[in-house]
Amino acid sequence: MLNLWSTHQFWVGFLTALGIDPRRIAFSSATSEEQARQFGKGRGTVDCCYPVKCISGHYGELLMREKHRKIDLLLSPMIYSLPSCLNGHVAASLACPRVMAAPENIKAGFLKEKDVFAEHAIRYAAPLVSLADPPIVPQQLYQGLKNVIPALTLDETRSAVREGYTALEIFNARVRRRSREVLERCAREDKPCLMVLARPYHMDPGIGHEIEVELRAYGYPVLWAQYLPADADLLQWVFGEDLRAGHVRSPFDIADVWPSSYSANTNEILWGAKFAARVPWIAGVIRLASYECGMDQPTYTPVQQIVERSGTLFFSFQDLDSTKPAGALKIRIETIAYYLEKHSSAIIEAKKAACLPDCPLIRDTRRESASVSAPGTPREARDPDSIRRAWRATQGA
């Protein structure tokens, strides 16, 4: 749920390295109205945004599993800051303050009348962890977990944290490579694709309503801003003019459009908007925002302006909550598909005309990556030695 959508590989890598059988790591199921009704009812403590409200249902579902699937420990990390490819180029990479603190709020709903965790004999841990600040993560996780994982040591935690980062890095590199392949194919064939600008948890079908899935059914490849290719050759081409003009200090810099770059997810949305505006084959952008999202609210105008000034189509789905009216969704998807079909060729041509020559997406379809990325195929990624090698390579870089 929520921040786990972009960090789950870290947690799987970390827990596996601590000796926990991956088959004994269970995630709660995707958010749904039924989940909230069945497991989260009466547990809310305050009115807040829709994604955070959903967590009660996830907690309840995990606590009330049948006897043969019962969990021993409910782990709900409070993620203070997030790993991001923009780290070092922005002011900070903090998590949304609500999502970060949500475990304390949701926990209160399961304690206010009686201790539901104790009632189900389930241990609860919500370690605070600054994933954008790796040196302090081992200590944070050790302090947060030593009372619930017997005989845990700091050294063991340190080693497991390394494995967690490696697993996450490998996964991210793989998905970014896939995004590049999509762009290369679109460039080669001069075909449009779409970009979703949203928070990672909008990948949860119950929160993002699978809007991008509906659009894929019309044949449009969909990219997510969080997993755009970060290869140096491509970024130099995309942001070369901005760099030369001194608008930005690096391809990952967003100070030209968003000076208060404190929030990791917001930063990625703004960066994704800039990327979409400058890449010709991204003909349309789908913006998703949840009900009462205070993080997204100030970004509505800048994001729309960044995208639309480039001539790219911009479609916004705001205030998403538990209601998923199929008819309304169908009409809007059809409208988007209609506009894409009608205008994408002209949009691509106009954007191409404004671009630098020698696009690396066309020039060389074999990737020459100069960015930090882990080697390995998915099969290799599961091999512990390969993970360690990749981690060392990352450290060296």
């Binding site: 609500r98 949701i106 968003w258 404190y262 009900y291 999202c293 993080m295 000034r309 949009i347």
Partner: protein, 520 residues
């Protein structure tokens, strides 16, 4: 709002689609504000209560700035703010954005937009966090664009840096003399505000406290304005720490308050205000005038000192260094510097309290607040008041500082809604803790105040019960207590300090004090 509603721009999109690539969007960058402009440009600011604003104005004028305090935001400002910036803002954003926009519009009507952009610059606090407070600039920027004043200059003062250097152009130097002056102005305003709120509910002559408070702030404004000019910025902290200028001035304020006659046998519940920084601090429409409303409903208000927020910011910065000890970056040394800063802040605040007869409330110890809140809320969670919001409620409860805590947070405040949610577990454990969390939208006043009134009724009952128990314990009747008070005229002065005798209410403490003196 209906899900899948179209963004406003998409209405009539068929006609709007064009395939031209325009100049890329760039964020607002204020044009430079130069030193030579200082003499004829006015720095606008606001966002605190009138006492702190007035004294900061004095400190700024001492440094050579022309400055003007924006009047307290109104409901009209709220509506303007909602209209000008993106939807879904929290109400402090709407109020402050509307406030500056309406001021500029009214000025532009008298002259011109270009003239106003030349004549004024705006300084406001920003944050280094992920909550909307850290992103206010976008709302201001959008509002300025929407009223056709893109060239108006706004500068953000980060709330966590003592020396932030000069803003672009060098006309506005956010350096140590500037920051130290502002902090000392805040400390002085805090203690005066505290004394004022302890006095007004008990004043014998209505309006007397208000008159004295205004006179005192005007006097302090002159003291700040006429302070010696600090040419070297490095000497500013030392000068502020050692000077007795402000302590002496506060003693004069204390003398002004001495003339106010009070009747502290009036039984009133003590209501501690906590919550989101802006809403607990301002006095006016943004928080439904809650301070005055509570007083009019018969309460003694325990206001939220801004100094506590400064102390919290220091504690929070220190925690970051605590977490980095052993990792590098001289964390231990930096933590030491922070803790020294906290001690100096407390020491300076206490000097000012002493000048006012130790009547203003003490600052709670930040590390005690952290410990109290720890079972419910992690101390490292950033944004809003974090664990302090819970710590303060428990501190007031355990130390008998107030009968009730009234918590003010903006509707949809991201971080504070989480702290308030965590309070559910606190209230489960301490069901007799009277807690009124108010979600402030700016409008819907009746709804919020009636909610507060329900808890206030219970607080009044508690205060009355406590008072009667004290009378029973001391075997005094109300008439006898009154008689004892009349025989000690010094106790009818606003400057008389009643010792705390283990109960909350002012009247109950006074009865215990009178009984103790009678026994002696």
């Amino acid at each position: 709002m209906t899900p899948y509603s179209e963004a406003p721009n998409q209405a009539g999109m068929e006609q709007d689609v064009e395939h031209a690539v325009h100049k890329p969007y760039r964020a607002y960058r204020p044009r430079p504000f130069t030193k030579s402009e200082r003499d004829h440009s006015t720095v606008l600011f606001g966002g605190l209560h009138w006492r702190a604003e007035r004294l900061i104005q004095g400190a700024m004028e001492n440094l050579g700035y022309r400055s003007q305090v924006l009047s307290a935001p109104t409901k009209e400002d709220l509506m303007t703010g909602r209209e000008l910036a993106d939807i879904g803002q929290c109400c402090p954003t709407s109020f402050t954005v509307g406030n500056i926009a309406n001021f500029l519009r009214s000025q532009a009507r008298q002259t011109s937009a270009a003239e106003v952009a030349k004549k004024y610059v705006y300084v406001t606090a920003g944050a280094c966090g992920a909550c909307r407070f850290g992103q206010y600039h976008q709302s201001y920027e959008l509002a300025m664009r929407n009223i056709g004043m893109e060239s108006f200059r706004m500068f953000l003062l980060a709330q966590n840096g003592l020396d932030q250097g000069a803003a672009d152009g060098g006309g506005l130097e956010l350096n140590l003399p500037f920051t130290m002056g502002a902090i000392w102005a805040i400390l002085a305003a805090d203690v005066v505000q505290d004394l004022e709120y302890q006095t007004r509910p008990y004043e014998v002559t209505p309006g007397e406290t208000e008159r004295v408070a205004r006179k005192s702030i005007d006097y302090l404004y002159e003291v700040f304005r006429a302070s010696p000019a600090l040419s070297r910025k490095t000497s500013a902290p030392l000068w502020y720490l050692v000077t007795s200028r402000f302590v002496k001035a506060l003693r004069e304020v204390f003398r002004n308050f001495h003339n106010i006659e009070v009747d502290r046998l009036r039984v009133k519940p003590v209501v501690k205000l906590t919550g989101e920084f802006y809403l607990q601090t301002v006095e006016g429409a943004p928080n439904y005038n809650i301070h005055r409303w509570l007083e009019s409903e018969g309460a003694e208000v325990y206001p939220a000192a801004i100094a506590i927020w400064l102390d919290y910011l220091l504690r929070f910065a220190g925690q970051n260094y605590e977490d980095h000890i052993g990792v590098g970056g001289c964390a231990r040394l930096k933590l030491g510097v922070i803790k020294t800063g906290q001690s100096l802040l407390r020491w300076s605040y206490n000097r000012m309290r002493t000048a006012l007869g130790n009547l203003p409330h003490e600052m709670p110890d930040q590390y005690e607040l952290r410990e109290l809140a720890a079972p419910y809320y992690h101390s490292r969670l950033d944004g809003g008041e974090g664990d302090m919001l819970i710590g303060k409620a428990l501190w007031a409860y355990h130390h008998k500082k107030a009968h009730m805590t009234c918590e003010l947070s903006p509707y949809s405040c991201m971080p504070n809604s989480m702290s308030i949610g965590a309070m559910a577990a606190v209230l489960g454990k301490h069901p007799d803790l009277l807690y009124a969390p108010l979600e402030v939208k700016g409008d819907a006043e009746v709804h919020a105040l009636s909610r507060c009134q329900m808890v206030l009724t219970e607080a009044k009952r508690k205060a009355q019960q406590e008072y009667e128990e004290v009378l029973d314990r001391t075997r005094l009747s109300p008439e006898q207590a009154r008689e004892l008070l009349e025989s000690s005229p010094q106790m009818k002065r606003a400057t008389y300090r009643i010792p705390r005798c283990g109960v909350v209410g002012t009247a109950a403490n006074l009865v215990l004090h009178l009984a103790n003196r009678k026994r002696q």
